[in-house]
Symmetry: C2
DNA sequence: CATGGTGGCTAGTGATCGTTAGCCTTTGAC
DNA sequence: GTCAAAGGCTAACGATCACTAGCCACCATG
């Protein structure tokens, strides 16, 4: 039950690895992926270092040769996740000039991320409270940045007279939340493909903002 | 920071109290409310019985005079929550004949619940994994029932030619998820009141299903 | 063949926590 | 006034965990 990060990734993660770069990066990645899966399945507090170790054929204490602490695992997973969406968002918006198309692309990217990176998305929304305060504030700021970027698109459409929106704030929340929800119910072996869902949600977004007359 | 269950409550909860009915119901309620708040704040695994006790001026072990286990607290909170939404949903739908209005009322009730019972909603989506298997399946079934009830409204509107919907399934998910999201960002002291938000989301729902031409 | 670093292991430490045992005080019924 | 139940407490048990200490095997480099 491996993870696939097939979506566009940011050029580089900003969190410095605890171990000198170039030294067993593959092992570290495998640990991160295993931790993600277990954190989602059993929760952060409900997952032991031994669990994570077992998932990569190690004993718990051996993990400390690759990772500074359990907390570091959580922090890195969460920041990696948000930076990924945000990068995908920026890339998607940049592919269009028209504000209507920009919002559509943004929603598609949002949905695609939440379908393809279900676990990351899920963790991000659920384990914020288990993040040490020093990490938490940074993560929250990144999330707010992302939301603001969405909000700007809605505002721009309204300003240009292309969207008919009663409350830009509530509408933006609705747009974001309906896409976020995909992470909860999406299944790889479900009826609808990621692309179909993304396209459909793009349509729904257009309806929400009253685009195209 | 108490909870208000101002919505219609189901006739009776299916989880039998550990203590004979009628004996110190008030104390037990206070424990449940404290547990809810703490579970949301620190997570189920991150909350100790001593924490809960302290919140109601008791020592941890004293809780066992009122409650069978920590697990029971979680299970009761979750089932109480779902039964509450579902009851509110049924009551809301019953106030209208027209399918369009029924869906609008259902969305309003959904949003109202998620704004007023933020903590319950949050817990319900986050701590499913910490529920003992025997409780979990029942809770999941109740949640599915609730979703199905929404889905039926969408289908009915489509069948009556009142809604223009490409995928009833995806549209229903979008409707539910945007409302569920309210629980995450709503604040009692925020700009918008519960009623304003509920009304607005009713409008958004009508747009999503393409109601009213 | 030395050697030193990398990465694995076992054993253990100290802390935390759910839960139980057992005791004591209050209170209300008779 | 007696007595039992209800409900509070402290103490302690047994588990579980994150993390550390310290050891050893492998292996590349000279």
């Amino acid at each position: 039950m491996g993870l696939e990060h097939t979506g566009a990734r940011p050029v580089d993660g900003p969190i410095a690895p605890a171990v000198p770069l170039g030294v067993t990066p593959s092992r570290r990645e495998r640990i991160l992926d295993a931790a993600l899966e277990l954190f989602v399945e059993r929760g952060y507090a409900g997952t032991t270092m031994d669990d994570i170790g077992a998932a990569v054929d190690l004993k718990g204490p051996s993990l400390y040769k690759h990772v500074r602490s359990k907390q570091e695992l959580l922090a890195e997973l969460m920041s990696r996740s948000i930076l990924t969406v945000h990068a995908a968002h920026d890339a998607a918006v940049a592919t269009a000039e028209d504000i209507e198309l920009q919002l559509r692309r943004a929603v598609e990217a949002h949905v695609r991320f939440h379908a393809r990176n279900r676990l990351d998305a899920f963790l991000g929304s659920r384990e914020l409270g288990n993040l040490a305060p020093e990490h938490r504030s940074g993560i929250i700021r990144l999330r707010k940045d992302y939301e603001r970027s969405f909000r700007r698109l809605v505002d721009a459409g309204v300003a240009a007279g292309r969207f008919a929106v009663r409350s830009p704030k509530l509408t933006t929340f609705a747009l974001l939340d309906m896409g976020t929800g995909v992470a909860v119910w999406f299944r790889d072996d479900g009826e609808a493909s990621v692309d179909e869902i993304a396209y459909h949600y793009g349509d729904l977004a257009m309806r929400l903002v009253g685009a195209g007359r």
